[in-house]
């Protein structure tokens, strides 16, 4: 792997993928190999229906600005902190899971919605923590 991807690895230490300009997965970090290794060479959106409108704007912003972009997003029952780091040969994408919807019962739904509300409220605060260790099951 080139030095261009080594830098993102330092910022997003464990769980990340690297995308090319067509959002094709060109690298999966070892922590994600078990879950996402089979996606290597595939376009990310082919595996995540409806995700383009959620993740895509962050990717576009990172590519156009050349700067890392961090955002808190909801997709597929989970709130995640998305860290997107542009490099010369790809876009490193690190996802940290913050909250998860539990639809087992109305009670679990109510509690998990409150957690999702709190996680999304963190997005509105504008406070950006340093990326922490990502979940090995970061995507989707």
């Amino acid at each position: 792997m080139s030095n261009a991807v080594e830098a993102p690895r330092g910022a997003a230490p464990d769980a990340y993928i690297v995308l090319d300009g067509d959002d094709r997965i060109t690298h999966v970090s070892p922590h994600l190999h078990h879950d996402l290794g089979s996606w290597l060479g595939h376009v990310l959106w082919d595996h995540l229906p409806g995700a383009r409108e959620v993740y895509g704007p962050c990717f576009d912003e990172a590519r156009s600005s050349g700067q890392p972009v961090e955002s808190v997003v909801y997709y597929s029952g989970r709130v995640k902190r998305l860290t997107v780091i542009p490099a010369a040969d790809g876009l490193a994408v690190h996802v940290e899971r913050l909250a998860e919807l539990d639809v087992t019962s109305l009670g679990t739904l109510t509690r998990s919605l409150a957690q999702i509300e709190a996680a999304l409220a963190g997005r509105a605060s504008g406070r950006h923590d340093q990326p922490r260790r990502g979940s090995p099951r970061a995507l989707p």
Binding site: P49, G50, E53, V54, Y74, Y75, S76, G77, L101, V103, T104, S105, L106, G107, T108, L109, T110, L113, A114, I116, E117, L120, A121, R123, A124
Partner: protein
């Protein structure tokens, strides 16, 4: 209580220990492989939501119908007591949560909550709607 779930809906038969002992043709794909299993072992978290109704039907000998939320689905269930503690269970799916995107979640959750009745469900419904309004506001 008015009975509106028809005989044509999917059904299963439970024995007196809530073991699945019969499956109707429309439920074969989902419940056929589960014959011989205790219902609660197959659907974690469902026992406190459904068993009180089943016990009541057995105790009174009267069929009853209720609407319940479980695993992201809202269904109208009819429990018909039979001999030796057996129960015929018919159900009709009324709504299902779409958890893929935040907008889908908000829309389908609001629709789903419309089906829930009763004071306890009403309190949960109000709490969830309040949280949804906050989430919607943050997402806007």
């Amino acid at each position: 209580m008015a009975v509106t779930v028809t005989q044509q809906t999917p059904f299963v038969v439970l024995d007196e220990r809530d073991r699945i002992v019969g499956v109707g043709p429309d439920a074969e794909s989902q419940f056929g492989p589960l014959i011989g299993s205790v219902m609660w072992d197959c659907f974690p978290g469902s026992e406190p939501l459904f068993k009180p109704y089943y016990d009541s039907a057995r105790r009174t000998g009267e069929q009853l119908e209720f609407v319940q939320f479980y695993d992201g689905n809202i269904a109208r269930v009819r429990a018909v007591p039979r001999a030796e503690g057996r129960l015929d269970l018919h159900w009709e799916q009324l709504a299902r949560l779409d958890t893929l995107t935040l907008s889908g979640l908000v829309r389908t959750l609001d629709e789903s909550l419309e089906h829930l009745a009763g004071a306890r469900a009403g309190a949960r419904r109000d709490e969830i709607r309040k949280t949804l309004r906050v989430i919607e506001g943050g997402a806007a």
